[in-house]
């Protein structure tokens, strides 16, 4: 396997890690104003991701850094081309990040309400836009000579990418609901499990719609063949199983299966892409590929060594933090961290 492919894989892994981890953060943020009935419950909901959200977000920063280091042309075209989209994501992540820290610092209803809605908007905007962005990776965007993006923000918005945005929105919201049903004390958790069931229906509906659209808007048949293989099929199947586990109230299994759904769905996108990284809607000769976007082999070799050493270490200590904070969050004021 060449270094370019290794890095394509690593970046896929980093984004998948990001979607799994910050996926439920986003879901929890989106659900916050709706599932909590009072201030104590709102704090419980936030505390379910309190120790983790910052570490989860670093998956994005690492994915971005890895893209910059390994595929500078991909990084440059993507970030400058999707300028407005990334600007909106940044504003959302800024407001959301400070909101977690600031919202409980003042015991005032309006103050907290403002920051709670910041968490909501700061979660829902990126949850939609990541779907829109990844859909456009495979659908193709107007890229011309010298890797330069020739479109506007509106070229990113179309019926396919909107459904893509709804896939991530509903998927992450279900993911967050399942996470909450695992993390909160029982009566509250059961309430949220019922909600997860209701959210699951639109989630599977838009995913199926997206699958159908993918056959119309992308070259999936050329890329994957008539039989797409286990990965895309697995994405749909695992989401069906999620529904079953929610129904029988097995939160841990539902969460595990939903992680699989995210892994399979995102992998499908990367499989359709490979060996391209951005598809040009103008002419295939302008496609960005792992070869014409990549750094020199020396850089890739050095970075491979560093990544192979440190990615497992990071995964190990992050997993440990989930073990430390594994207990369900209770409404007991003594144990509830503000």
């Amino acid at each position: 396997m060449n270094y370019e492919t290794i890095w394509f894989l690593l970046i896929a892994v980093l984004f998948i890690g990001y979607f799994i981890l910050e996926g439920f953060d986003f879901g929890v943020g989106i659900l916050l104003p709706f599932v909590a009935k009072n201030d104590t419950e709102r704090r419980m909901v936030i505390n379910s991701i309190g120790p983790h959200w910052d570490g989860n977000e670093v998956w994005l920063i690492t994915a971005g850094g890895a893209m910059f280091a390994a595929f500078p042309n991909w990084y440059a075209t993507l970030f400058s081309g999707f300028y407005i989209a990334f600007f909106l994501i940044l504003i959302a992540l800024i407001l959301r990040g400070v909101a977690f820290e600031f919202r409980s610092k003042v015991a005032d209803i309006k103050w907290r309400k403002f920051w709670d809605w910041s968490i909501f908007f700061g979660s829902i905007i990126p949850a939609i836009l990541w779907g829109v962005a990844f859909t456009n990776f495979i659908r193709g965007v107007p890229i011309g000579e010298n890797f330069v993006y020739l479109g506007t923000f509106w070229d990113l918005i179309n019926i396919y990418s909107i459904i893509g945005g709804l896939v991530t929105l509903t998927g992450f919201t279900v993911h967050g609901a399942i996470f909450l049903s695992m993390k909160l004390e029982k009566p509250f958790a059961s309430r949220i499990n019922n909600l997860a069931m209701k959210l699951w229906f639109p989630s599977i509906f838009v995913l199926l719609l997206f699958v159908v659209e993918t056959y119309f808007f992308t070259d999936i048949i050329d890329q994957l063949g008539v039989n797409p293989g286990i990965v895309p099929i697995g994405a749909v199947l695992s989401l069906f199983v999620v529904g079953w586990f929610i129904k029988i109230n097995r939160n841990g299994w539902a969460f595990f299966m939903n992680c699989l759904t995210i892994i399979f769905s995102a992998s499908t996108i990367f499989l359709i892409l490979y060996p391209r990284v951005l598809v040009s809607s103008i002419d295939p000769i302008y496609n960005l590929t792992i070869m014409n976007s990549a750094s020199g082999e020396y850089t890739l070799r050095i970075m491979t060594i560093i990544a192979l050493i440190f990615v497992p270490i990071v995964i190990a200590y992050q997993a440990w933090t989930y073990w430390v904070f594994r207990k369900r969050i209770t409404s007991d004021p003594e144990s509830l961290h503000y």
């Binding site: 309190g50 977000e57 670093v58 994005l60 400070v98 610092k105 993006y149 750094s295 850089t299 200590y317």
Partner: protein, 458 residues
């Protein structure tokens, strides 16, 4: 049109970077000092140190959140606004950014969560280790970001291939002499910032004779760390200046408003320049002192702006290679002046601590103003570093005007410049409000529930 894009891109970068760097040095400094306080608590079991850890830790966290969220902007906007730059140096510049995320950000961001939520959930030892990992993470992240920045100042470890810079020696990138002066200078500047922050707030309470024990101990720790750090900052800054004379003589010449080469070279006390006509409007200079600063002796040529300009025209072709002199000149002076003032004030602080005169010292009520000094020094230091390198973005290889994203329009830039300005302005107000609110709260308990027992939908 293109000119406006360049100008707005520059403004946005300056704005978001300066703003981000309001929070970073305090994070670096307070992480270390809070870790030291908690270590003393761990070793002695003395409750006052636990209280100190919690009190300063609370302020640390408010600041930390701001640093985190403004940091993401930094990573994204190289691609967003400077795509040609990203293509040109991505091979080299991207690597330290990715390493920073992997080695430093993960450590910092994961263990900050453990520290905040782990007070009673994990053993005291593990909890102490978490804050140390946060401190190490924040210092490590400074290292890697400065490896990246040093490359822009003094490119090393690369070859040019197909019009791009391609890395061929990672060791050279990391062992770039510029890294080591810049890293130590910046990190010690961070420790100084943390110390001054604590010094100022402690002085405020000592003047009012509130919580004397807690703030006396804090004042003491802060003066010691502050004095050592600022002393080393000045020493390293001196070496950094000497390194600059060698690698970026134009930056030094501009910082000194030195038009003609001189041997021995004079140091400017005050200069007001007319950059357009390349002359001084008014200037007072001391002979030979600039040679002394540059070479540690009273002789040696320091090259002037005009000489370097004509040399660069020969090497790089026609063009204007002179950075904005007034900005360089004054940022250099404000930085150095703040540094020496902090050295003086921390020395005074240590004297008062040793003579046990802190509480009786009349002027202690003015000490809270010291908090401004590190911010001035940090900001001016970076302005000198970055503005002084202009017109280059990668010294000698790529000019800033060639680095912008070709597809980004004036309209997009106005949207993002205004957007960031409004959000950053509002958040600064909130940040200062919360810091002062929590600085005044000695008891560490936060407000818990509000009376709001309703859902947002009732």
């Amino acid at each position: 049109m293109n000119e406006i894009v360049i100008t707005l891109s520059r403004w946005q970068f300056a704005l978001t970077t300066v703003y981000h760097f309001f929070f970073v040095p305090l994070t670096i400094g307070l992480a270390l000092i809070v870790a030291i306080m908690q270590t003393i608590y761990f070793k002695t079991g003395d409750q006052i140190y636990k209280q100190m850890t919690k009190y300063w830790g609370k302020l640390f966290l408010i600041n930390f959140a701001m640093g985190v969220v403004t940091g993401i902007v930094m990573e994204f906007q190289f691609g967003m606004n400077w795509s040609e730059y990203s293509r040109f140096v991505g091979d080299i510049f991207g690597a330290p950014l990715a390493i920073e995320a992997l080695l430093a950000f993960f450590l910092e961001s994961t263990f900050i969560g453990v520290w905040v939520f782990g007070w009673d959930k994990i053993s005291k030892r593990l909890h102490l280790i978490s804050i140390w990992l946060v401190a190490i993470g924040s210092t490590l992240s400074a290292f890697w970001i400065l490896v990246a920045n040093s490359f822009m100042q003094s490119p090393m470890g690369f070859v040019l291939e197909n019009g791009r810079m391609v890395m061929n020696d990672f060791g050279a990138l990391v062992s770039n002499p510029n890294v080591w002066v810049q890293f130590t200078h910046t990190v010690l500047g961070g420790y100084t910032t943390g110390a001054m922050f604590i010094l100022g707030i402690s002085a405020y309470f000592l003047f009012r004779k509130e919580q004397v024990d807690l703030f006396q101990k804090s004042f003491q720790i802060a003066t010691i760390i502050g004095l050592i750090s600022v002393f080393l900052v000045i020493l390293v800054g001196h070496s950094q200046g000497q390194h600059m004379v060698k690698t970026q003589p134009m930056k030094m010449a501009a910082a000194e408003a030195l038009w003609e080469s001189e041997n021995p070279a004079s140091f400017s006390i005050i200069s007001i320049v007319d950059q357009k006509n390349q002359k001084d409007v008014f200037s007072i200079r001391i002979p030979a002192v600039l040679s002394l600063l540059s070479y540690n002796r009273f002789e040696g040529e320091v090259r002037g702006i005009k000489d370097i300009q004509s040399e660069y025209e020969q090497i790089y072709g026609p063009g204007n290679y002179i950075p904005p002199i007034t900005i360089n000149y004054w940022s250099f002076r404000v930085m150095v002046g703040s540094g020496f003032l902090m050295f003086f004030l921390t020395s005074l602080g240590l004297y008062l601590v040793m003579k046990k005169k802190v509480l009786s010292f009349k002027l202690i009520k003015y000490f809270p103003f010291v908090i401004v000094l590190p911010y001035l020094a940090n900001t001016c230091g970076w302005i000198l570093t970055e503005v002084g390198r202009q017109p280059w973005v990668v010294f000698g290889y790529l000019q800033t005007s060639e680095a912008i994203s070709p597809n980004v329009t004036v309209g997009m830039l106005w949207l993002s410049v205004i957007g960031f300005t409004v959000i950053y302005g509002a958040l600064m107000a909130v940040d200062v409000y919360l810091l002062s609110k929590y600085a005044k709260k000695i008891t560490v308990d936060e407000p818990k529930r509000t009376e709001d027992e309703k859902s947002y939908w009732e």
